[in-house]
């Protein structure tokens, strides 16, 4: 997930783009320890694990969705392999939706 922080640097001052992390942890202590460590510079929220999986249709983590300005989900990247390794990949998706 450090790559999200790197990718975010480009959009930090961009009011048209938002990064939101959603934790589905069920262990508060552990989540807060993780957040203290990672110090994410963007919004971190929490959702119920089962509800999130069911509504968003993922069964592995991380699951990343790109949503356009009209609230339509336009891309989904599952797991680390396809997505997790590159800052350019994150900004490619964002730029498609501008």
């Amino acid at each position: 997930m450090p790559h999200l922080k790197t990718a975010y640097a480009k959009y930090r001052n961009d009011a048209a783009v938002a990064f939101v992390l959603v934790s589905i942890d069920d262990d508060d202590k552990r989540l807060h320890r993780f957040l203290d460590e990672m110090k994410f510079p963007f919004t971190v929220l929490h959702a119920n694990k089962d509800e999130a999986q069911q509504k968003m249709g993922f069964d592995d983590l991380p699951a990343t969705f790109y949503v356009d300005r009209d609230g339509i989900v336009r891309f989904e990247a599952r797991g680390m392999e396809s997505h997790g390794d590159s800052r350019d990949r994150v900004s490619w998706f964002i730029e498609q939706l501008r």
Binding site: H32, T64, V67
Partner: protein, 362 residues
């Protein structure tokens, strides 16, 4: 009198079975047997303690003990309750008091380390490994495999053993062991299903075990020159590993080459090399095989440049294939809160391009 004695020995049996299952890390069977033993007053204290220890492991200590396992916070309160029940059933029971003290420490700790590796199991693994280069009798190796499988029920000893037998030219015995490994893997995952937390992760664990077995069986068949059987089994392994296993792609390459399908062989060798895994010696063999195929097919062009282009293309394709366009649906309404539990108003996100990343700290 006789009935009471009989009941007592039945409860003793359940307790012994439960403990033995748990020693092997067969959680579901262990819990079922121990729960029965906990209902009999003669075995209640011991059974509650054993359950409490099992739940303590599941709640705080099973993270990454096996690939894909995560702690299950839902078991934490149950661990404390079982251990308290054990102490209540027999207030003088030292081991239960000690286990309760440890679990209470975990409950108030900031962080609990996963359970350490089991020394007995490690020693038995080392015994199997010692047969890699030895010319010891096969029966001794097989005894070492049985001993390790009895100590802990995961499929590793069967798969390691099958590989060693393959290297020693014992193809039929290797196939038999790989088949037992597949059964052990299915059972082990099933017994510990909740430890995987998500359906995708437990499915992945099932598939890994089955793919490993299918690849071993297919490779053994290839070495026996039973090419049809090899093709079927290596193909199963490819489907189960979604083409992402280096050894399997290499094996498919070797099979295609042995059956004079050079286009196919080229694809599999390239698919193998485009993965970042595999020991250097096998990567070299795949590269050499490709060089030989290319030399036969086209005289001109630099092999190295061709290889680099092909590998880059494959890596890019693999990335984009993993992207599934769900999509083109409105973002479903989700109940989102701040991480401190307070309500969150998503109005501020409206009209923006949104990156929404679901994660867990485990």
């Amino acid at each position: 009198m006789a009935a009471a004695l009989f009941a007592q020995s039945a409860a003793r049996d359940d307790l012994a079975r439960g403990r033995a299952f748990w020693d092997q890390r067969l959680a579901q069977s262990a819990m079922a047997a121990l729960e029965i033993a906990a209902r009999d007053k003669d075995t209640a204290a011991e059974a509650h303690e054993a359950l409490g220890r099992l739940y303590t492991f599941k709640g705080w200590q099973q993270e990454s003990v096996f690939p894909g396992w995560h702690d299950e916070p839902a078991y934490r309160a149950r661990a404390l309750a079982e251990l308290r029940a054990a102490v209540t059933a027999d207030p003088s029971r030292r081991s239960a008091q000690e286990a309760l003290r440890i679990a209470e420490g975990f409950a108030s700790a900031e962080k609990v380390d996963p359970a350490p590796p089991r020394e007995d199991v490690k020693a038995l693994d080392a015994r199997i490994d010692a047969y890699r280069n030895a010319a010891a009798p096969i029966a001794d190796l097989e005894a070492a495999i049985e001993a390790r499988a009895k100590a802990q029920a995961d499929p590793a000893p069967y798969f390691t053993g099958a590989q060693i037998l393959l290297d020693r030219g014992e193809h039929d015995r290797a196939i038999a062991l790989a088949e037992r490994g597949r059964a052990a893997s299915d059972r082990f995952v099933g017994e510990n299903l909740s430890a995987y937390q998500m359906a995708g992760k437990s499915q992945g664990a099932y598939s890994r075990g089955r793919a490993t077995a299918a690849d071993l069986i297919g490779w053994a068949a290839y070495l026996k020159k039973e090419y049809d059987r090899a093709a079927a089994s290596l193909g199963d392994a490819e489907r189960l590993s979604r083409g992402q296993d280096f050894a399997n792609q290499f094996h498919l390459g070797e099979l295609a080459r042995a059956t004079n399908q050079s286009d196919r062989a080229r694809q599999h060798y390239l698919d193998a090399l485009a993965l970042s895994a595999g020991p250097p010696s096998l990567r070299q063999r795949a590269t050499d095989a490709l060089r030989a195929i290319q030399a036969g097919d086209r005289a001109a062009g630099s092999f190295d440049a061709w290889l680099e282009t092909e590998l880059t293309r494959r890596r890019d394709e693999r990335r984009s294939a993993a992207l599934k366009s769900v999509v083109d649906r409105a973002l479903p309404p989700l109940t989102l809160t701040a991480v401190d539990g307070r309500p969150y108003d998503a109005a501020g996100l409206r009209g923006k391009v949104l990156l929404l990343n679901f994660f867990a700290s485990w």
